[in-house]
Symmetry: C2
């Protein structure tokens, strides 16, 4: 799996597939890391977003940031709320919306997973130098801006 499972003749395609397969593998280890506290990466993404946000987020905010439809955000939050990791609170001035807030337990869990996750990340990313980290950031950012254009077409 370090090598791509297929051979490609053109480099742009190979580069994209290389990103793709890397993320597929990332997904495999992430599943291990998040268990047993969380069921999925989607749940982790939500908790991290809530943790890092400097202001309260609505379900709509989460939907836009995570590219997940609002109808599915409802279900994701239901499961996390049921586990006691977050709560919906009323928004003053807009009775249609909720602010999503981590509970104390939610904060504990996300911090714990973040540690576990960060240590796995360190071990993985030790393969690369500081310059290579920078390069990878800048290259994938370019890929994303290509994707944005593609999405707009």
């Amino acid at each position: 799996m370090v090598e791509l499972p297929i051979r490609l003749n053109d480099k742009p395609h190979e580069a994209l597939m290389s990103v793709w397969w890397t993320s597929l593998m990332l997904k495999k280890i992430s599943t291990k890391i998040f268990q047993p506290e969380l069921a999925s990466e989607a749940q982790f993404n939500i908790l991290v977003l809530l943790k890092e946000a400097h202001k309260p987020l609505t379900q709509n905010d989460l939907s836009r940031k995570l590219l997940v439809d609002k109808s599915n955000i409802t279900g994701l939050l239901d499961r996390l709320e049921k586990q006691g990791l977050l709560v919906r609170t009323n928004v003053e001035g807009d009775r249609r919306s909720y602010h999503i807030e981590l509970t104390r337990e939610g904060r504990r869990v996300v911090n714990k997973l973040d540690k576990r996750y960060t240590s796995a990340v360190e071990s993985v990313m030790n393969e690369l130098s500081a310059e290579e980290h920078e390069a990878l950031i800048s290259l994938t950012k370019k890929v994303r801006s290509g994707i944005i254009k593609q999405l707009e077409e």
Copy 2:
């Protein structure tokens, strides 16, 4: 979404998350590209693997190459076979196994999607130069080798 939705203080983590979010976006466009012929990226991965393979593949081969459990390969192939895109044929000398082969229709579909996919890839990857393609390939390969080590721990 060109910018990561969260700010990170350390570069290795940022680099990994950048790969992660890029793949999340890739997944979004891939869903568009595969429809209506295929239901998922998992199905496309199987067809591409079959197309590129230079020898017949068994379900076990697919399972190992795609990191998908063999029990789930069964279901994936069932759906693709039902659509007439592939067939299971007996393997001479091992009555436990099947060789999975694309049908004429399967070949037609994978070629069609591959074209659609390739043209989207080109448009996305035009953002990068030839040298950058090479760099991205080599960097993500390093990340994968880090992941392999992590998986072995």
